[in-house]
């Protein structure tokens, strides 16, 4: 695991964006060989998306040969609803960049046969050659995507009923009216994300600190599903200082001591203008 600790949310977002930028450019994607990514939603990755849009606008990266697969989507929420994950991705990322719409995959929570939709999604991922880099976040209860506590660590894309904690946490997006929050979602499984070549988890804020502690300093446990990534060969945790508040001082000092090594991954930052 790489534990990359930046001072604040903005710096963490920027580091993550630079990393993604360098990975895409180094990969040299083309029409014959797309760079495939898994994408998250929520307040944590927002800053990272903003930076990526900035890099696109300045002509330093292109998403023309990038295929994306979002982690999750609510069931039964109209696609055009401002809180749907389709809306989030459109407004905060897709509409600002040059990705081919046919390559921007998001689960459809409004189909008749949800099971079939999940299976088709797994199929699409494997047809795309698997995921190069899966970017994700972490819930306060340590979940990745909607793999709530108790989810199988080898699970695949499926329908999940949301935990009460998650529903309460989401209420703020639905006018604090619990009755309006969706209760089910389609989500990639822990196993699905584990299949990616590389995983990058963004964790910022003190409210995520305990989950981070459980994810990396305790054992692999299906009650804290992000802990599964201890068994992935290439996991990156990108966090801010606040997210480390529940870690041992020793852990934090060790990884801060490695920052000069980690920073070589984002410095120099590459650009397609140089190609």
């Amino acid at each position: 695991m790489r534990l990359v600790i930046l001072e604040d949310y903005d710096l963490a977002s920027e580091w993550a964006a630079k990393y993604i930028r360098n990975r895409i450019i180094q990969f040299k994607p083309s029409a014959e060989r797309y760079f495939t990514m898994g994408l998250p939603t929520g307040s944590t990755p927002y800053g990272c998306y903003q930076k990526l849009i900035e890099y696109y606008r300045s002509g330093d990266i292109s998403f023309k040969y990038v295929k994306t697969f979002n982690m999750d989507e609510y069931v039964g929420l109209p696609r055009g609803h401002p809180e749907s994950y389709h809306s989030y991705m459109w407004n905060n990322f897709f509409k600002h960049i040059d990705i081919d719409p046919a390559n921007a995959h998001v689960l459809d929570g409004n189909v008749e046969d949800l099971e079939a939709e999940c299976q088709a999604y797994e199929q699409k991922i494997s047809e795309a050659g698997g995921i190069e880099l899966f970017v994700g976040g972490i819930g306060p209860d340590g979940h990745i995507a909607f793999n709530e506590p108790g989810s199988s660590l080898v699970s695949r894309t499926r329908v999940k009923t949301l935990a009460n904690d998650t529903i309460v946490a989401n209420a703020r997006f639905f006018g604090n009216d619990l009755s309006k929050v969706p209760t089910m979602a389609l989500t990639v499984g822990v196993g699905t994300v584990m299949d990616a070549k590389e995983v990058m988890i963004l964790i910022t804020g003190a409210h995520k600190a305990f989950a981070l502690y459980k994810a990396i300093e305790e054992g692999v446990n299906h009650m804290w599903t992000v802990s599964a990534f201890q068994q992935h060969p290439c996991t990156n945790f990108i966090c801010d200082e606040d997210a480390t508040l529940e870690l041992r001082v020793k852990t934090v000092k060790y990884f801060k001591g490695l920052m000069h090594v980690h920073n070589r991954l984002v410095d120099p930052v590459l650009s397609i203008k140089d190609q």
């Binding site: 696609r79 055009g80 389709h86 809306s87 459109w90 407004n91 897709f94 509409k95 081919d100 719409p101 046919a102 921007a104 998001v106």
Partner: protein
């Protein structure tokens, strides 16, 4: 990489680098158009995997819905109330010229005229969409002849009429037909007007109160029967009085049926209404304000004498008088001048000034589901403006029809 054509073959245009008027505020968003209508780009992206065939760089302009003028009597030497053999070419001529002022739809207005004028003019023009040929015609605005003799303004007295019998039959006799009529201005104190108002509203024709000496309760009764507009507020009606505010009182009346709005036309040319009066009206009822030009034949022409209806008028600077008097008979301000003057005089926001010339007239005429806004599915009638609200370009159904 344009759309996969699963919904439509038509090309898609994306207006970029602009600020659009949507949901009552200027937002930095791109505007997408297909098939002459505003397109939802999110639906295009997810449902059709499509995007733009063509991008138009707006150079940071403001994009507003095209202006709608519901009271315009002519311009550039053309007088709609003249019984020409070919009035439709006169209307077309003006329709093309007003694109320069950002007007994409209008109601050609006929002042009080003899019956043969109505019978000759009305059948010649049908409601039709705009395009490169000019702004769209939404229907005639018939201002008269059922108006008050005391408040005739520039209208010729000998052609004023009263309701000799009830029902639409008498109206049909007067006008000859109502098919291409969008609005009628009448004085509600005339006997028999209330049933006429009801009948017109039922036919989908907007009824406006004007050139009248009605008191507030007569005006309120008219509104309850369906009247929804006031023709050039303050002009040709009783002045506001604190014990009987008259028609002006409709702006704050509590007798307006729930869910309905009374709109009022303002000629914001700096001449027809004192800026302080404009502010009083705007502040008391901002959502009802509709900018109109009430432009006459001489709009666009140099100073001098010209014909309006059956009378002669005289231009002096920005003023147009009934020749030999000091009675105002219409304005020569253009719609974009009115928008700028309204913003300046009232201190309102850019959004409010633009909506007074687009959204409000569309709401008045009951066409806001397709005009007067930039909502998805609305007609792509647009104006590009700079920050001082000068028109840079005009579009109808997504096609550029005029550029500065």
């Amino acid at each position: 990489m344009p759309s996969n054509k699963s919904v439509s073959d038509a090309p898609i245009t994306q207006f970029i680098n602009c600020r659009i008027l949507r949901d009552h505020c200027l937002q930095r968003e791109d505007l997408w158009v297909r098939d002459g209508k505003i397109l939802d780009p999110e639906k295009l992206f997810f449902d059709e995997h499509g995007y733009a065939d063509k991008r138009v760089d707006c150079e940071d302009s403001i994009i507003a819905p095209g202006f709608i003028d519901v009271q315009i009597n002519g311009g550039y030497g053309v007088d709609f109330s003249q019984a020409c053999e070919d009035v439709s070419s006169g209307i077309s001529f003006v329709a093309k010229k007003i694109l320069e002022h950002g007007v994409t739809s209008f109601c050609p207005t006929l002042v009080t005229s003899p019956l043969d004028v109505y019978h000759k003019v009305l059948p010649q023009v049908k409601v039709h969409d705009g395009g490169a040929h000019g702004a769209g015609v939404l229907g005639f605005h018939l201002e008269g002849p059922f108006i008050s003799v005391e408040k005739k303004g520039a209208h010729p007295e000998k052609f004023l009429r009263t309701f000799k019998s009830s029902g639409l039959g008498y109206l049909m006799e007067t006008y000859g037909g109502l098919d291409s009529v969008a609005m009628v201005t009448l004085a509600p104190e005339l006997d028999g007007s209330q049933s006429v108002i009801r009948d017109l509203c039922q036919k989908g024709i907007t009824v406006s109160l004007g050139h009248s000496v009605a008191n507030l309760s007569q005006a309120e009764e008219a509104v309850q029967h369906g009247a929804s507009f006031i023709t050039h507020l303050f002009n040709a009606m009783l002045p506001f009085h604190h014990r009987d505010p008259g028609i002006v009182g409709l702006l704050t009346s509590d007798q307006v049926p729930a869910g309905r709005t009374v709109y009022y036309g303002m000629i914001a040319d700096g001449i027809h209404t004192n800026p302080a009066a404009l502010r009083i009206a705007h502040r008391s009822h901002p959502s009802g304000l509709v900018l109109v030009t009430d432009a006459i034949t001489a709009m666009g022409l140099p100073p001098g004498r010209h014909t309006l209806g059956q009378q002669v008028i005289e231009i002096q600077g920005l003023h147009a008088y009934v020749a030999g008097t000091k009675t105002l008979c219409g304005s020569i301000a253009t719609m974009d001048m009115c928008v700028r003057h309204f913003k300046h005089a009232s201190g309102c926001s850019v959004e409010e000034a633009l909506e007074a010339a687009s959204l409000h007239p569309a709401q008045l005429l009951g066409i806001s589901h397709r005009k007067g806004n930039l909502d998805f599915g609305s007609d792509a009638d647009l104006v590009l403006l700079d920050d001082t609200l000068n028109i840079k370009a005009t579009f109808i159904s997504g096609e550029e029809v005029w550029r500065k």
